[in-house]
């Protein structure tokens, strides 16, 4: 039971980041390789604010606000200006952003590893087992935010406009949808999801530049599930977390990075669009 909660927590964090990647991909067909970097940058921010003595009720919202600002800057300074270029320019732009953010992290916070005080201590009795409160918090919070994002997309009117943009950008523009606003909102939500994911990650593990790998795992989760499907992101995250845990348990930790990648290769060979992705002939990166 303990292990299940832990895996659910990790999967939740991956799902959060993967949801952000999928959302950005849906609205602007850009694969965001910088998601992990954004998450850990925000984790560093929160940790620094907490270490400076602020309470987490202040630290978290401030970090999320900073994240929204970063998202807006990313969109208006970079993404908006490369609209219409061939597909892999967007990918390279996120690579550039990733390199930039890594540099910022190293300069601003040093290359050190930070541990933060977990919010909750002790254990909770659940389903007849002693579970660490932190793990439960991480799992609940992560899946809660994922659920919120998916509900917004499915049930609200702004979500309707996002779905219209996903399907056909030109037609959406014709029907009066302000594409700028929608894509910027997608980036903001993605970065906020990353920020939450980073914060939750800091609750259960070390925060350092090496932790950026959660972004790679999230990307793999999104790819397994299909780059334009939220359900796929969820299933992919669970699969990635499960496979990682399995390998950690039965083999050496060194191979834990390889397991999700191998899983992804197997799935992509069988279904090149991911489990729930839409099959398209259009060349995309």
């Amino acid at each position: 039971m303990q292990q299940l909660t832990s895996v659910l927590g990790v999967a939740g964090i991956y799902a959060l980041l993967a949801t952000g990647i999928v959302l950005v991909y849906r609205t602007s067909r850009v694969v965001n390789l910088a998601q992990g970097h954004l998450a850990i940058l925000c984790a560093f921010c929160v940790a620094a604010l907490l270490a400076a003595g602020y309470h987490w009720t202040a630290a978290l919202p401030v970090t999320i606000a900073v994240g929204c600002l970063i998202a807006a800057v990313i969109y208006f300074a970079v993404m908006r200006r490369i609209v219409g270029e061939p597909a892999f320019v967007g990918l390279m732009a996120t690579v550039g952003i990733a390199i930039l953010l890594r540099g910022v992290m190293v300069v601003a916070f040093g290359g050190v590893t930070i541990t933060t005080q977990p919010l909750l201590n002790g254990s909770i009795q659940l389903f007849g087992a002693d579970l660490s409160a932190t793990q439960v918090l991480v799992a609940v919070a992560a899946w809660g935010v994922v659920g919120a994002i998916v509900s917004v997309n499915q049930f609200t009117s702004i979500g309707l406009l996002m779905r219209a943009t996903t399907e056909n950008v030109v037609l959406a523009a014709q029907r009066g949808v302000n594409i700028d606003r929608i894509v910027c909102l997608a980036w903001v939500i993605a970065v906020c999801a990353a920020a939450t994911g980073g914060f939750l990650h800091s609750q259960r593990a070390f925060v350092s530049t090496a932790a950026i790998l959660i972004g790679v795992n999230a990307l793999i989760a999104a790819l397994i599930g299909g780059m334009d499907s939220f359900i796929g992101a969820v299933i992919g995250a669970l699969a990635v977390a499960a496979s990682e845990h399995f390998v950690l348990l039965h083999f050496e930790a060194r191979y834990a990075d390889l397991a999700p990648v191998c899983l992804m290769l197997v799935i992509l060979t069988i279904r090149p669009w991911g489990l729930f992705g839409t099959q398209e002939d259009v060349e995309r990166v």
Partner: protein, 362 residues
Amino acid sequence: MTDGRARAPAVRRPPTLHTSYRQTFRLWRGKEWWCLLSGIGVTLIWPFLVNAFWLHLSNLALIAVVATVGLNLLSGNARLVSLGQAALLAVGGFTAGILGAQYDLPFWLCLLTSLGTGGLTGILVGVPSLRLKAIYVAITTLALHFAVTTLVSIYQTEAVRAQGIVMPIPDFVFAKLGDSRPWFYFLLLVVALVIVAALNLERSYIGRRWIAVADHEVAARSAGINISVAKLTAFAISSAMVSLAGALGAYYEGVLTAETYDIQLAITSLAMIIVGGVGSVLGSVLGALLLTFLPYLLDAAMKPAGIALSGGSLNGIHSIAYGTLILLFLVFEPLGLAAVWYRIRNTCMLWPLKYTPLEAKR
């Protein structure tokens, strides 16, 4: 018999105007021989112009040029974005290491074998990529990266049981490549061969097939191009070149460690082809040169300003510079340094006339 008409003044032809089909695929399309010759001249006397530190950097830059030109063939011309650069460098390096250091094979044989192993690795990663679309190809190469780095680190800890493999000093024809200066000329020779090879590939039917497949697979297929063969040759040739660069790097550094091949290397290589100009050999050369020298230029620029930073922060500043440079180029000049160069050259050649060529590439 006098000619009543006045002779028309000689018209300066725009540099991009080709008047025959043959001209469009000549190896050297320019007309300014003096430019090329003076460039070659400066390069030849370069070791006598700079001090040892910059010469060492120049050698590293030349090795990077070989690797980048190789990557450009794959990711620039065939548009198969590859994150496996570090893995291929490792393959080349360790081939040279195992054969050269442990079995004492001659230098040139090790280089050739690294070409072979690189090509095979490329085909190995190319086969599963045939069915996949662009981002998935990138992720497959990322899988290659993880696999290879794990393998070499296992090899290093298990088989070598040391921190790294020490490479012998190579013996090349008439000189021992022990010092920076002979290395420089040797690397110049290799770079020249690689550039000529890449240019020839680009303008031959092989290169054109890559571009056709990259542009529109369905149309290429209906034109009779075998997509699988085209992609696999792209992978093979590109990987062979990168592997060669890896072997050269291993010999040059003198010590081969598995830790040098991390994902940052792959990202930096992609940055080199973006900043230089995707799809152009000149672009990869310029990009490799700029990005290899960049951190040290930054340091040299920051020293007079009195900014002294610790090693870690310096790394951060380098990353910030890299990232900003990539973004600036992507937003303002997606065709990279090569396009900037062609623009400057066209302006100089045509001044004071103004001419906007239809395609900015050549």
